[in-house]
Symmetry: C2
Subunit: 764 residues, 2 copies
């Protein structure tokens, strides 16, 4: 397939505005007569509000309204951003209200104040006195699963889901194995820490409907969830999404939007804004699930895998949010990566009293790949095999029909990734060099880890996307999408796709900063690395329709048969020799203004995609461990990706860099911590350790590019993929450096120091 702009480093369409600081984010919208709301949050993690004393709060000047839970609609709803499911059992668990007297987490939303200024609202919130009744606090699934544990949501067991997938007989598989690796792994509570916090404004529109401007990854779903929470017909809500400063999955939960609309309603439709503080955004929204794994791996002496056994315990926190979709998801992705005679993946997701876990870039795969790839590395070690060779021997061949997901892995170039990485990373030399650093204070080692990742949610979720193209008089096109640009550059790649299919240059495609549920094509939004894949089909189909309509109109206007016409380089040409018929610009004018034939040309598509493509890749890491302090320095790190055809290499590399940084942080430094009472201890950017550029090496990367036959432009997922394998690669490198397997991430210095001490690496 010949491409004109696909595969080129076209400049982001929003680059200039963003560099100049002229891009409008939600908080930038100047709304007349805007009121500000602040949320009163519980200072206990589990219990009940017995009483509110509002006396002092009411006296704060500027206070318009103090809102208690009983002032709002009492429709239980789910915050998770999934397409609506027609079958009730498939819907996300509806376990929350906008405000609550029942407290499930520290920081529960128990009241709200609307005031003329943010400060007045803040002061009034601080003056509300609350009397609590306290219940025991459960921070871990184990605690919440104890026989005498109180139900966190009375209507539901603390174990919200319990599944078991796989094939074969694990016991037989383990019995047949020559070597068994049995280990426990656990991951931390990573937080998205997107640059732009959650912020939303709501007001009554001129047509008496409710408008919510929000920094959301899922405007169309946001509309629905507001409707559900407020008990309104969905048409009565209009969601607008301006530029977004990152979401990473946290904005795939609808956390503040129903409340802000409800508050505007209580204030007669006046605009009300909620702008979470950094502390609220870090500790009171969603997190990556902390998951515990009990893994058993059975392998033959020749490297053949006989059994992969995973027992999974996922810490859901106080609300179900995306729930078991994350902890329960790993089986098919393990199976995508490695052949095994027997596989068991048993998972439980359990309510606790920490912040509700939700979607976060990787959606459970960084956790399961961390456990899997650590165990794989350890098995190779036990066999005395090279860990890359061991993987090459066991990876799934291309074309494998995944028996757990029913997805055929058409292109699945994991072995090419491993081989390319081995060479490009200079793995063997670095491994050999590290032999010189196995004693002394600074120990060096290298590690590898692989991953697999889907493109969208099929066959589990509905995959609908849409696009609309409008021909403009100068031969350019307006492209409308319901897909969500959240900073990742999707609008740029969609523009490349449209241009490529239309036969025009990239600069001829005009995009919009705002996604608006009233007018933009229906699309479920930015998650599951679905957009370039699923929405890509919508763009392609729409552009194909547009091109066909253009050629049909050209045939009318110029009396040339449609099949003899084509569009190349912004010109309508004779297909057989590319000779010019008319420039797109001249054609466009005639298409509008010809007295006989003139009228607008528009095209629209809505697609429902019934397949998926598995992407894959791997990380190579070289670390230096300061055994005296437990400090790990990442010396070099490389990702290799099979994401099919790369639409825009520069944007793709941005995705990979950011993803690797987040994956490294997942492995090394980031984790929310809680007091025994469930109070967040590091809900700020000083104590919550996001790596800075000073903490990271220059990342290296490579793409194994081939055109996936199922991807719209040969492409597969990339957005979440880069952070799936850095953590295990680092863990494996640390083990290679020190000989010690540390199976709890993040590998913070204190944890490493203690593990090394316990292992005798450090002598007291």
């Amino acid at each position: 397939m010949k491409h004109q702009t696909i595969g080129h480093n076209e400049t982001r369409w929003d680059a200039i505005a963003k560099v100049k600081g002229e891009a409008n984010f939600t908080d930038d919208f100047a709304i007349r007569n805007c009121l500000y709301a602040k949320i009163l949050r519980s200072t206990i993690a589990h219990g009940r509000v017995v009483d509110y004393d509002l006396t002092e709060a009411r006296q704060v000047p500027g206070v318009i309204k103090i809102v208690l839970p009983e002032d709002l609609p009492q429709n239980q709803y789910a915050t998770a951003g999934h397409p609506y499911a027609m079958i009730p059992a498939k819907r996300d668990i509806e376990d929350r209200l906008m405000l609550n007297r029942e407290i499930h987490v520290y920081g529960e939303e128990i009241a709200a104040v609307v005031a003329k200024t943010e400060l007045a609202a803040e002061i009034a919130v601080s003056k509300i006195k609350v009397t609590y009744k306290e219940y025991p606090v459960y921070l871990t699934p184990q605690a919440a699963m104890a026989p005498d544990a109180r139900r966190i949501h009375p209507e539901r067991d603390n174990i919200i889901a319990n599944t078991n997938v796989g094939f074969g007989e694990i016991d037989n598989g383990l019995a047949e194995a020559d070597v068994i690796v049995k280990e426990e792994f656990s991951t931390g509570v990573q937080q998205h820490a997107h640059m732009e916090k959650q912020v939303a404004v709501a007001y009554r529109g001129e047509d008496q409907r409710w408008i919510c401007i929000s920094s959301t990854q899922i405007p169309h779903i946001c509309r629905r969830i507001i409707g559900q929470a407020l008990g309104l017909p969905w048409s009565q809500i209009r969601v607008k999404k301006p530029f977004i400063g990152g979401g990473f999955g946290n904005k795939q939960d609808i956390t503040i939007e129903p409340l802000v609309v409800a508050l505007s309603m209580l204030c007669g439709g006046r605009p009300v804004k909620i702008n979470l503080t950094r502390e609220e955004s870090l500790a009171n929204t969603r997190t990556r699930h902390a998951i515990d794994y009990q893994v058993a791996l059975g392998v033959k002496q020749d490297g053949h895998i006989t059994a992969i056994d995973f027992d999974v315990l996922s810490n859901q926190g106080g609300y179900a949010s995306h729930g078991h979709a994350i902890g329960g998801k790993g089986g098919s992705f393990i199976n995508a990566l490695y052949a095994s005679d027997n596989l068991r993946y048993a998972a439980k997701t359990v309510y606790t009293n920490i912040a509700a876990a939700g979607a976060m870039r990787g959606y459970g795969i960084p956790q399961v790949m961390y456990a899997l790839e650590a165990a794989i590395a350890d098995a190779a070690d036990k066999l005395g095999m090279d860990p890359i060779d061991f993987r090459l021997q066991n990876t799934r061949p291309e074309g494998y029909l995944n028996s757990l997901s029913q997805v055929q892995q058409f292109n699945f170039k994991i072995n090419d990734c491993l081989k390319r990485g081995r060479e490009a990373f200079d793995y063997d030399r670095k491994l050999a060099d590290s032999q010189n650093y196995k004693t002394g204070d600074k120990r060096r080692g290298v590690g590898v880890a692989s991953f697999s990742y889907g493109s969208g949610t099929y066959p589990f979720g509905l995959e609908v996307a849409g696009a609309r193209l409008i021909l403009i008089q100068d031969g350019s096109f307006k492209l409308m999408l319901g897909a969500t640009e959240i900073g990742q550059g999707s609008d740029t790649t969609f523009s490349q796709m449209a241009a490529d299919t239309l036969g025009v240059s990239y600069d001829k495609i005009i995009r919009d900063a705002i996604t608006d549920t009233d007018i933009d094509p229906f699309d479920t939004g930015a998650y599951a690395s679905r957009q370039t894949y699923i929405t890509g089909f919508a763009v392609q189909k729409c552009a194909e329709k547009m091109k066909a309509k253009i050629l049909q109109r050209a045939a009318e206007l110029y009396d040339i048969r449609t099949e003899y016409l084509d569009i190349v380089d912004n010109n309508i040409v004779y297909a057989h020799n590319n000779q010019l018929v008319v420039s797109m610009a001249d054609f466009a004018m005639a298409s509008f203004y010809d007295m006989a034939h003139g009228r607008a040309i528009v095209a629209e598509s809505s697609v429902n995609i019934h397949h998926n493509s598995y992407a894959c890749g791997c990380t190579f890491a070289e670390v230096e461990v300061d055994v005296a302090t437990g400090q790990i320095t990442l010396l070099s790190c490389m990702n290799v990706h099979d994401s099919g055809k790369i639409i825009n290499p520069l944007l793709a590399s941005g995705q990979v860099e950011g993803g690797m940084a987040m994956g490294v942080a997942f492995g090394l430094s980031e984790g929310l911590r809680y007091s025994p009472e469930g109070k967040p201890l590091n809900n700020n950017l000083l104590d919550y350790k996001i790596p800075t550029t000073m903490d990271l090496p220059d990342f290296e990367m490579a793409f194994i590019e081939s055109e996936d036959p199922l991807g719209p432009y040969g492409n597969k997922s990339l957005g979440e993929n880069p952070l799936c394998s850095p953590a295990p690669a680092i863990r494996n490198a640390v083990k290679n450096a020190t000989g010690v397997a540390i199976n709890q991430i993040p590998l913070a210095p204190q944890k490493v120091f203690e593990a090394l001490k316990q292992a005798g690496v450090i002598e007291e």
Copy 2:
């Protein structure tokens, strides 16, 4: 044709917001960091700026930029809001720049100041010192046509067009006549005086394109004219039109938008607002053409018309604007109304140095009907015939193919209108009663006048319109249009049309306050009473497409053949007995979320309409003339309209009331006056006499409703029609009361007094 909501008085969708003052008009948009521009206007009517002294103006605090003509692009452009014409000769005359050193009218835009506040801009403008070279000032076509007259636009003769249409031989026709009426008529310079003045804001958008929020009747054309004036590709401009407080044709000229965009460009893309003052809006925008008519009418004793001869001289003012389209237009509309053996309509349009005349509600027809219907009345008088009977005898029959416009007048119920009005107005009794008031100070009389009016501009103009419908999850629909709601209620009637065709109730259609050229279907806008007619077709076709798609999807989902399904009362039903299959709401949910079939349903249409329908009607007026003062009191007034099927009677009656008031004012009181130097003398609402409700009787009206086979819902034009015949009906009533034919309107007391004195009605 059975209608569900068409013909019903559905409530305007924007009623609540407007009544509560919550509707946002252009000036309500809160734009951050907005700058304000004021225009320096010439204090002479004809000449040239020799020099500007900016010294003092530059020192005004807050001034950002002082802009002279040479600072701006020098692309000549036309302000008239017509669709672009592919043939250069058919385009509006491109005779202006955004700012000019050459002065064609008093108040010419000769410089602009951008400042941080409106006041600072105003002060700085007042401090610019201008040295002029003055030329002779021509206020009338006669003066500008004098042999030694200077060309107002050097590149063009002062007579900008000179046309002659008709059939037969006028001289023969007049020779054959038993009675000849020969008269001269002239009309005044009426101004639109819309409640909301011209206002626009422009800024550079996040995609580096230019956004202009404007109170315009023609957003898509506005985009084009900005592009032409600035020399930008049209895609680089985005026009948004919020609610509009009236336009009446004045906002069918693009007067301030290119300048405001150009000023924003000069200020680095910062928002700049221009908000004309009332004085500017009245005197420095557009007016209704003042037209002089020399009319000769030949009739046989039996009432047969042998000749209609019109010599027309239209006062264009300083710029061509809509130019000859107005003065040149009357022939086919005279021919639409009356059969005549011979017809000649010879018209000239001439530049002068008064304000440029442009489109104004009625677009030349109130003027020509005033002259025609006065002459017709006088002919009847001369023959001693009843003026209604005389008309009934000569009106065109239904089905007449208009030989001048090539439009077939399918439904043309002028006789029904006249007969209905005679009865409903109680014409004969009032006429008889008036005999008791033919002496003394208070004289009474009755008068009648007819008119014909087109629906859109076919075959002269391109008639393209579009619509888009989006099914929403709760079974309602979003309707997108490029047609322009300017207060007339068009969005409400379009919603009724869509609902009717879809089989759902009116409340299921959701409209938008803003028309946005980037996303709304292409439509040339609000003018020529075209929208319910032309855009009506687009809405109908779009709704038909949507309905077909719904039934097709329903067939997929429920395994029932499409042809057995229908939509009635918000339900999908079996067509043969209306039995429920599924509610639209439940269907809509399945249409989005069914795993196999789910995807969005949208429909879009763009139509190019190749026909026209002639509406018609008449006015009955009863006046009392105070011969001592010349003051005319309108005692009662009734309009009867054949506008085909009435979509929303309440909104239609609003159109008729407003139009009648404007038509009465055209005849009685409104007129801009100029000093001999061309300075406007009454550019304010105190001196420019708009009638208040105290000045007007309770208007009566009736509709002769029938379904026009060419109208989308049997409907024809109505918006401009009501003001076409009040002025001649009043003039005829005054003649009936006093015996004096006063042939210059407005019939201001002084003019009436002098005419009566001259005729000897008033004795000194």
